[in-house]
Symmetry: none
Subunit: 194 residues, 4 copies
């Protein structure tokens, strides 16, 4: 890996959480220089734009979250148990493992309505991929006779995601861990009843 690539990665690693906290527009070049210790010139030497940093930081945050879910899922065998990884992680949410600032998709969805169409598009894409992944799990679970045949995969997938995102948002808003636990409790029951 070249030095340029190292610096790029370094910049992304350091800035990602600010982007996810202050918002992708609310994060300034100054924020970025402060947290990296680099100069503006250096950042512009490694990225074309603030937008490019923004986009890659979003991907980075997304990656952390995906990884978190994936590794937990791999530990689990049945499809039902795999799905239960979602409420499990959201419940045992911790700032050290989960991207600081919450779900990057949620954050981007809300922030970049008008202001940043490319980022919004990236987030929408990520969301749909996520949804399709859950649908895939559900279909496999149906095949494996784990879930009811009558189950409507897309509706279920969307519901799981809505509860998840809604829960994360409520936690972020109220800083009340109890709330998300209760919501995830419902989600667990919902999945168990599929």
């Amino acid at each position: 890996m070249s030095k340029a690539d190292k610096t790029k990665e370094f910049i992304i690693e350091r800035t990602a959480s600010i982007f996810n906290t202050k918002g992708y527009a609310g994060t300034s070049l100054n924020d970025m220089t402060e947290v990296t210790g680099l100069t503006k010139g250096s950042i512009y030497g490694n990225f074309k734009n603030k937008e490019e940093v923004t986009l890659e930081a979003f991907k980075f945050n997304l990656g952390i979250m995906s990884c978190l879910f994936s590794t937990e899922m791999e530990k689990r065998k049945t499809y039902r148990e795999k799905l239960l990884a979602y409420p499990f992680i959201a419940n045992n949410y911790s700032e050290t493992t989960f991207p600081k600032g919450g779900c990057p998709i949620l954050n981007t969805a809300v922030e970049s309505d008008d202001t940043h169409p490319i980022l919004k598009q990236q987030a929408a894409l990520a969301f749909i991929r996520w949804k399709d992944k859950i649908i895939d799990l559900l279909n496999k679970g149906i095949e494996a006779k784990e879930f009811s045949e009558k189950l409507q995969p897309e509706q279920v997938a969307l519901t799981i995601l809505a509860v998840l995102e809604g829960g994360i948002m409520i936690r972020k808003l109220t800083d009340n861990q109890e709330y998300i636990e209760k919501i995830m409790n419902t989600l667990r029951c919902y999945i168990e009843g599929l």
Copy 2:
């Protein structure tokens, strides 16, 4: 109502939807003068600073949404039917009735994490009041033997809100009406099964 109060209200009415669309930080004084036809000086004559406008615009957007739900609820008699007003409205969501830009609580929750603590607090308060209102409905419904006695009001209320907010966010992100309909479908079933 004094002239000052009228102007204040006028400013709020006009700016509220920009705030809910562009974000409370992303909306500039220039945006405000453009949409009101007033001068910056005039805005500062009626409000202490941008934050004050921000706060009142948030309240205004909140009011529109509350009103929407309340009037629909009043038409309905049983508590179950009252609760079903939520998925009903979210489903028949329209930019003319619902605040443009989506749920102000959700928006504020996401945007104002670090950047605007007072606004975040207001949103948190509004959320808790909303939650408590649903709890109240649930308790009354239990008393009226509409709902199961075993039902845990806070968990149910939080779940309803999570699905609602999650659904709105997904709609905002994907611009896909079908998605929210499916999610609200689940919510309807959930409420009907209480």
Copy 3:
């Protein structure tokens, strides 16, 4: 005249000569604040852009030069004498009357080849108007039997302008007053022989 208009005019007056000296791109906002004593914000309150200032400064410089020629011409009666105003003024060139930095059309022509198409267009327009004005004088002179009927107005007009601009450029480059005098001497003979 409103205060805004006064400030605008003030800014133009003060900056015009820098633009004509340092070039329209080479003049920075800092140059402009220094020479006006105003802040950047104030300049942007009165002009949309640096480009807008640039364009108006060009017009201002153009105006000074046109005025210089016009007033000298009005003093003169015959068309031949009127044309002789050009070498006369270029000869008695002085930094106090003539725009500092030389002919704005010449300067703009050279500077804004690629970099500033709108400005170049303005300069080209000004040039053509100037040329047509000379053609008009020539035609009137022909009618008045002052000039030969065989004279080709456009060629003569273009020649006068080329010698004039060439002379100004040579003066600017060499800082040698003698040179322009010699060139204007030729121009005078040329006009006298028409």
Copy 4:
């Protein structure tokens, strides 16, 4: 020729036309790396700074132009015919033979008034050499009885240059080939009448 010299020459060759088009200040190091395919470090390895490149690029452009006139003149026998090479070339001006961007002396004269004294000095020197070369031709022509004895060599030389530069500038400004043809027509007559 050492490798260093080769690289230097390569850089000059490639950058010269940008300098003459965008201006000596308007051309950035990035422009230079783009057009050469080299790195900034490499350019700084071969030249002390941007100014040095600037100066040599100016010389290079000057050389092209001089060469163009010289070779045309060598084909011609009488001094009058040699002088007529100027309007001939300016008339048959083509972007492939003539330095792109026009006469480097003219460009430098206009651009570098305040901003770049050394470059201006170089241009002034080149101009005077040019003028003296024409004076030389005129004197030889007088000796050879081609031109009138009464002719004032410096005035004629300056006039020729003024018309030439004025014409080139007008062409650059208006992009109208017809204009320069008319001007060069006058110049031809002027030389023929010497």
